[in-house]
Every structure is written in structure tokens, then in C-alpha cells.
């Protein structure tokens, strides 16, 4: 590993943006809330863009060897020591580029989207702090540093989701996100403790070496499996899997660019990054991997079914995100870590694109988010439509767009790898179909068909300004062409030996699994899977568009679906379930503690002591009767006892 200051520079640039927007500019203007959009935006965007440039330079350097730096010695407690050590290797370089690149685009988009927001300085300071935390998460070479970033992004997501905190619902959404994350973090911490117990260090280099050593044995299987499961619990919290995904749909209360950055491109992928980083450990616990795979699959299908019954465009995208994250965990669970990272990358592109596009639509429709009140927007918002169409094609897995390559690889790995499962494959296929259908539904309800806008909105309908369109087009390009970084060998050989560039890039860090042409778990040839999934995707997407041009819900098509529709629209009543099973008992317990244990018990004891002291004082006070001779009498008595005692004792 070569020493370099680049990781530190990349890390600190967004922090500069945070300090500018959070401290310097308010100090200069003698107050918060007086920042103009231009000031706030440039204070945050320029450092982040510079970080992107530096990231590119680092990317070039990392091709030879990882670059790292240790800023200072952070914790030294007995034999436990953690340094503030940063490292960019091939895996984190990819993520750094995603964070800074997509982040810059979103910063630009926000400048236009939130042009009339009075708290814009605060917004950009939070965004910069978020980027700093996320970069710390991926750049840290020690698990506590990763956790520091982990918590930091959790904090920023709370701040940003509850950005308009004066509305109670939005503030509660922020709170829900933070608390749910925290529950997962307990699992993460337990995993970290177990890792320290097993290895004695939390440095990733040390850990990776140890994992490699353990391939030949010498580890406690139970502890390793427990650690993996504990860490995965943390990942379910951060990456919104079952059972801790409930915060992500509520998180749509925040501004749309926030949803794009945090809940599409970066924060939710932290869990996947962590598993990819610790792939050596997870490989040693096949049982844990099975759990990961099946939970990912279940979450994907679960969220997909909910998405198809949602009316709010952002909620559709939120559940779509949960579903795609499920895909990423499916990939991790079958051992295809590279594929998970690949899907992470393509997902960042097309999901951010879809979210920003929906932001553009919402902005045009005067903050209307209900798709049943949209329709036929294609001729009013041509650019938005075009870019969102590309995003939809990508997410549905239509061939040659980015989503196709990554999703296909996941599906094939599920049956081709030794760690794969056929069940995961079937669920994945079903979810892919659902994805295409609900994405088509979303496009149809928003852009095609009859116009259901109300008169007032239609008057103000206009295409978004250039500053919003520029990021959309850049992301559309990436969503369209990003897949070419991961062309599978089967196709690459036909197209003139095009290599699977991402796989070769990640090989030294995240090992590749050679995918045989003939799947192991299910006897299918890779080409069969590829062609089959393409056909399915195209068919379902077209179906989605055609069916939902005229109708809005599945019930409109199939009347018998109505009761199920209700359940899906209410997201399987899972929030109500949690409230009844967990939240209400907790609140009752808290009430018991506050009113009984605290008021009667603790306060009673403390007050009791006070009262007792006072009563004792009252009694003792009466000894003083104002008579000097009484005092003299007591004195003499004491004297007599003392003298007698001393003399007698001396005699004895």
C-alpha cells in the first residue's frame, strides 16, 4: 500500500462544504437562513466536484496498488488500538466515484429544485456532511471508522428526511428512520465485538489476512456465523431489508434530491459495501449466506408486490429501491459479491435518475405526487419523459441497458454458483417481472394516457430548467451505457473479446466466481437465462405500459383483486403490526417506569431521605433547651466517662 494524501483530501473536501455552509457563511451573514441558493450551492458543490476529480486521479493510481494514509492514532485502550487510517483500494475507488459523481449531479439538481427554499444553507450543509460521512464509511480502513461513517449517514438521513421539521409527519419520518437504523446498528456492534474477540484487531487489512488464513480452518464456526448474522442485521437496518425496511417509504417525506442521493445511490448501499468488504468472513459461513440470500429475495418480492399498488410516485420508487436492494443481497448471499457491487453501481445510476426525474415531474406539477392526478405529461415534459424512459428501461432489465447486465448476472449467479439456490432464482425472476410491470405502470400513469391533471396545475405546466435537466441527461447516459462495464464473457466473446471490465477491476479485492456456462443448481445454459430474462422484461414492461394507460390499479383490471389490493396499498399493514407488537408495549413500559418506578420509587426514596433527615433534625433540635447547665452537664458526663475510661484502661 502506498502512502498518499489523496484519501484524506477526498474525505475532507465535503467537510469543507459543510463548514462553509454550516459555520462560515452564517457567521459572515450574522444569522442562519440568509444564505442565497447560489452561495449555498456553490459552497457545497464545488468541493464535492473537486473531490470527484481527485477521486479520478486516485482511481488511476489505485490501478497499481491501494493507496492509504493514517491521519492519527485515534483510540488506544490497553491492547485495543484504532488508527484513523484511510485506504482507497479498487472497491472503495468505485464507490468514491459513485458518491462524488452522482452526488455532484444531485447537488446541481437541488440548486434548481429547491430554489425557493429559505433553509437552503442548512440543506446544503447537511448534504455535505452526508457526503463526508459516506466517504468516511467507504474510505475507512478500520471497522470503527466505517461505523463512524455508518452512524454519520444515519444522522444525516435523519436531518435530511426531517428537513421540513415543522410538519410533524415529516419530523416523525426522520425519527423513524434514525431509530430503525439504530436497532440495526446494535446488530452491527455485536458483530464488531465478535470480530474483535476472534481476531483482536478491527483493521481491514489484518482482518482480510486472517480470513484468508482461515480458509484452511482454525476458526470457530459458531462465532463466525453469529458474527455474519449480527453484521447482516446491521445491514438490514441501513439497507432496508426485512424486517427493518419500514423507514424507507416514510423517508419520502424529505426533499426529492435527498431521496435520490441517500436512498438510491449511497446510504442504502452501505450494507452491501460492508458485506463486500468482509466477503472473506462471509464465505466462511455458508449458513449466514443462505439467510442473507433468502431475506434479500423475500424482501425483493415483498416490496415489489407493494410497489404495484402505490399511487404516490415516490412511494413506488421507494419500494422499488427496497426491492433492488433485495437483489443486491441476493447476489451477496449466493457468493457473487462482484455482481452485487455491479448492481450497486447500475442501481445508483438508474435509481438516482428515476428519483430526479420524478422530482422534475413533481416540480412541474406543482408538488403533486399522486400519479392518479397525472397523465399524458409526455408532450409537456419531453426531456423528463425521455430520460425517465431510459431509467425505466434500465431498471426493468431491457437488454443492453445497464440494469439488464447486472440483474441478469444476479439471476444467473443464483443458479450457477456453488452457493446458489434455485428458490432464490425463481423469486428473483418473479420479482424482475414485477419490477418491469410496476415501472411500466408508473411511466404509463405519469406520461401516457389521458390527462387527469386539474386545471390549475395544467396552466403552470412547464419543462424543468436546464440545471435540472443536465443531471438527468448525464445520468441517463450512464444508465444506458453503464452496463458495458460488465459485459459477461458469453457476450463479450462474440463482440470482439470485450472483457468484463468491472470484474477484472475488482478481482484483487473482491474475488470473482467463475460462472460456468451451464448452471449447477438448475440445469440451464447461461444464454437461456439471458434470453429468457430479456424476453420476460420486454414483455412485462410493455404489458405494464399498455395495461395501465387507461387504468390506474390492478383492481381496475381484475375486480377480484380488490381485497388484496387494499392489503398491498397498506403495505401489508406492517407498520400497524410493529406498532401493536413493539411500540405500544414499549410505550406502556416507559409509562410504567416514569410514573411508578421513577415517581414513586426513585423520587420516593430520595424525598424519603430528605424528609427523614428533616424529621430527625426536628427531633434532635429539641435537645437544645436553651439551658446552659444542661450543656455543661453533658460535657461533664462525657468528661467523666473519658477520664474514668482512660485511667481504668491504663491500669488494666
Amino acid at each position: 500500500m502506498t502512502q498518499s494524501n489523496l484519501p484524506l483530501i477526498i474525505l475532507l473536501l465535503p467537510l469543507v462544504g459543510f463548514l462553509l455552509n454550516g459555520v462560515v457563511i452564517p457567521w459572515a451573514q450574522k444569522g442562519f437562513g440568509k444564505t442565497t441558493v447560489a452561495q449555498a450551492a456553490s459552497a457545497s458543490t464545488i468541493p464535492l466536484f473537486l473531490a470527484f476529480i481527485v477521486g479520478l486521479i486516485a482511481f488511476g493510481q489505485v490501478a497499481h496498488a491501494p493507496i492509504g494514509a493514517t491521519a492519527f492514532s485515534w483510540l488506544q485502550i490497553g491492547s485495543f488500538s484504532v488508527d484513523f487510517a484511510l485506504k482507497i483500494d479498487r472497491l472503495s475507488a468505485v464507490l468514491v466515484l459513485i458518491i462524488t459523481g452522482v452526488g455532484t449531479l444531485i447537488h446541481l439538481f437541488s440548486a434548481s429544485y429547491l430554489a425557493e427554499e429559505p433553509g437552503i444553507g442548512r440543506y446544503y450543509s447537511y448534504l455535505s456532511l452526508f457526503c463526508f460521512s459516506m466517504l468516511l464509511l467507504v474510505l475507512g480502513n478500520e471497522l470503527p471508522l466505517l461505523f463512524f461513517g455508518w452512524e454519520g449517514v444515519g444522522l444525516c438521513s435523519y436531518l435530511l428526511i426531517g428537513f421540513w421539521y415543522t410538519e410533524t409527519e415529516k419530523a416523525n419520518a426522520g425519527k423513524k428512520a434514525f431509530v430503525t437504523n439504530r436497532v440495526g446498528d446494535l446488530g452491527f456492534l455485536i458483530g464488531a465485538f465478535l470480530l474483535y474477540k476472534m481476531i483482536g484487531s478491527l483493521n481491514f487489512d489484518v482482518m482480510t489476512t486472517k480470513f484468508a488464513m482461515w480458509k484452511t480452518g482454525g476458526y470457530d464456526q459458531f462465532l463466525v456465523t453469529a458474527t455474519c448474522l449480527a453484521l447482516f442485521v446491521g445491514a438490514t437496518g441501513k439497507s432496508a431489508q426485512i424486517p427493518l425496511f419500514v423507514w424507507l417509504p416514510d423517508a419520502m417525506s424529505g426533499p426529492t434530491p435527498v431521496s435520490a442521493l441517500i436512498h438510491a445511490a449511497t446510504m442504502v448501499t452501505a450494507g452491501v459495501y460492508m458485506i463486500a468488504r468482509l466477503n472473506g468472513l462471509f464465505d466462511l459461513a455458508p449458513d449466514a449466506l443462505t439467510v442473507v440470500a433468502y431475506i434479500g429475495a423475500a424482501t425483493a418480492l415483498f416490496a415489489g408486490t407493494i410497489a404495484i399498488a402505490q399511487k404516490d410516485i415516490k412511494k413506488v420508487l421507494a419500494y422499488s429501491t427496497v426491492s433492488q436492494l433485495g437483489f443486491m443481497f441476493m447476489a451477496c448471499g449466493v457468493g457473487a459479491y462482484q455482481t452485487a457491487v455491479f448492481h450497486l453501481m447500475t442501481h445508483a445510476f438508474f435509481k438516482a435518475l428515476l428519483f430526479l426525474g420524478s422530482g422534475s415531474v413533481i416540480h412541474a406539477c406543482h408538488h403533486e405526487q399522486d400519479m392518479t392526478k397525472m397523465g399524458g405529461l409526455k408532450k409537456y415534459l419531453p426531456h423528463t419523459h425521455f430520460t425517465m424512459l431510459i431509467g425505466s428501461l434500465a431498471i426493468s432489465g431491457i437488454p443492453f441497458f445497464s440494469g439488464f447486465f447486472s440483474k441478469d448476472e444476479i439471476l444467473y449467479s443464483a443458479i450457477a454458483l456453488p452457493g446458489g439456490h434455485a428458490g432464490v432464482f425463481y423469486i428473483g425472476v418473479a420479482t424482475a417481472a414485477l419490477t418491469a410491470i410496476y415501472t411500466g405502470r408508473m411511466m404509463a400513469m405519469t406520461f401516457y394516457g389521458e390527462e387527469r391533471l386539474d386545471h390549475h396545475t395544467k396552466e403552470h405546466l412547464h419543462e424543468s430548467p436546464g440545471l435540472m435537466l443536465f443531471p438527468l441527461y448525464v445520468l441517463a447516459g450512464l444508465a444506458a451505457l453503464g452496463g458495458l462495464l460488465g459485459v459477461p464473457h458469453l457476450m463479450g466473446d462474440y463482440l470482439g473479446h470485450m472483457p468484463h471490465m468491472l470484474s477484472h477491476w475488482l478481482d484483487p479485492v473482491v474475488p470473482a466466481r467463475a460462472l460456468p456456462l451451464m448452471a449447477i443448481k438448475l440445469p440451464l445454459h447461461e444464454a437461456v437465462v439471458m434470453i429468457g430474462s430479456s424476453v420476460l422484461a420486454i414483455f412485462c414492461f410493455a404489458l405494464g405500459i399498455l395495461l395501465f394507460r387507461r387504468h390506474q390499479t390492478v383492481t381496475d383490471l381484475v375486480h377480484a383483486f380488490a381485497p388484496l389490493e387494499k392489503v398491498l396499498a397498506h403495505k401489508y399493514y406492517i407498520d400497524e403490526l410493529y406498532a401493536a407488537v413493539i411500540l405500544n408495549p414499549l410505550q406502556k413500559l416507559a409509562k410504567l417506569c416514569a410514573e411508578v418506578i421513577d415517581r414513586l420509587g426513585v423520587d420516593g426514596a430520595v424525598n424519603g431521605f430528605g424528609n427523614g433527615a428533616r424529621r430527625l433534625g426536628d427531633r434532635l433540635r429539641l435537645i437544645q433547651d436553651g439551658d446552659v447547665q444542661t450543656a455543661a452537664l453533658w460535657m461533664v458526663t462525657g468528661l467523666a466517662i473519658a477520664v474514668a475510661g482512660i485511667l481504668l484502661l491504663a491500669r488494666i
Binding site: 447547665q629 452537664l633 461533664v636 468528661l639 467523666a640 481504668l648
Partner: protein, 172 residues
């Protein structure tokens, strides 16, 4: 030796009886006169022991000045028979009596076991040779204990001023 012991014994009994009278008498004047008697008895004891100077001082200062002062105060304040001065059966008296008896007992035990150390140089013969008790004492007082003597004079002045200040009527 035997005569002296008998004489000392008689004076001792006299003083002891007067002390008890002082404890139990109801009138303040009776107490004052009892104390006077005790002082006279003590002066006699000093004289018997050959301490002529101290005996004289005792008579002049203690019996002569202090007791006069007390009798004057009793007269000035017109203190009369104060009635139920104290009850013998009270817990206060009982506790005091117990403490007193304890001190008596222990003290008596110590005294009776005491073997004094005769290391001094001022035997009666030496004293007589040097000109008598008074001359010896005054010689020691004005040579070795001179500073204390002056300090006591100062203390007397302070006491004088203090007594006058405390007792005078406040000027309105």
C-alpha cells in the same frame, strides 16, 4: 506529724461540710458565707503547710476582695430566697451526682495509689535559711517569672476595663 495530720483532718472536715452546705443551701447569702468559710479553712491549711505567702494572699484577695464583691452583688441585686431552687430527685441531679461520684471514685483511687517523687530542692530548712517563704517566692517571681507577672498585670487592666464596660448603663 500526728498533730499536723489531726489539724489538717479537722480543717478538711470543716471545709467539706461547708461545701455541702453550699451545695444545698437555699439562700444565696448562705452560700456566699459558706464559701468564705471554705476560703478561710484553705488559708489555714496553707499556713499549716508553711506557705505563708499564699495563705496571706488567699485571705487578702480571695476572702477579702472577691467575697466582698460577691456579697455586694447579692445585696445590689436584692436576691432573695429563690424558693424551689432545685429538686434532689430530678434526673439532672441524679446524672450530675453520678458523674461527680465517678470522678470522685476514680480520682480517689489515683490519689491513694500515688507515690510522689521528692526531687525538689526547696526543703523547709533551705527555705528558712534563705529568709523565709515570702522572700524566696518573691525572688523567684521577679526573676524567673517576670514576664508572666507583667502579663498578669495587663490581664488585670483588661479585666477592669471589661467589667466596667459590661456593667455600665448604656448612654442613650
Amino acid at each position: 506529724m500526728v498533730e499536723v495530720n489531726i489539724l489538717v483532718g479537722v480543717i478538711a472536715v470543716f471545709c467539706a461540710v461547708l461545701a455541702l452546705v453550699m451545695l444545698f443551701a437555699k439562700e444565696a447569702l448562705t452560700c456566699a458565707l459558706s464559701l468564705l468559710g471554705i476560703l478561710l479553712g484553705t488559708a489555714a491549711l496553707y499556713a499549716v503547710m508553711g506557705e505563708h505567702f499564699v495563705a496571706t494572699i488567699q485571705l487578702v484577695v480571695y476572702a477579702g476582695a472577691i467575697m466582698v464583691l460577691f456579697v455586694f452583688s447579692i445585696m445590689l441585686l436584692n436576691v432573695q430566697k429563690t424558693g424551689d431552687d432545685f429538686k434532689v430527685g430530678t434526673p439532672r441531679f441524679a446524672l450530675a451526682a453520678v458523674a461527680g461520684l465517678a470522678l470522685l471514685g476514680v480520682g480517689g483511687w489515683v490519689i491513694l495509689d500515688f507515690v510522689p517523687n521528692f526531687g525538689g530542692e526547696w526543703t523547709p530548712e533551705t527555705v528558712a535559711q534563705l529568709g523565709g517563704n515570702t522572700r524566696v517566692l518573691s525572688h523567684a517571681l521577679f526573676s524567673r517569672h517576670f514576664v508572666a507577672f507583667e502579663a498578669v498585670s495587663l490581664a488585670l487592666i483588661v479585666a477592669l476595663v471589661g467589667a466596667v464596660t459590661l456593667a455600665k448603663r448604656k448612654l442613650n
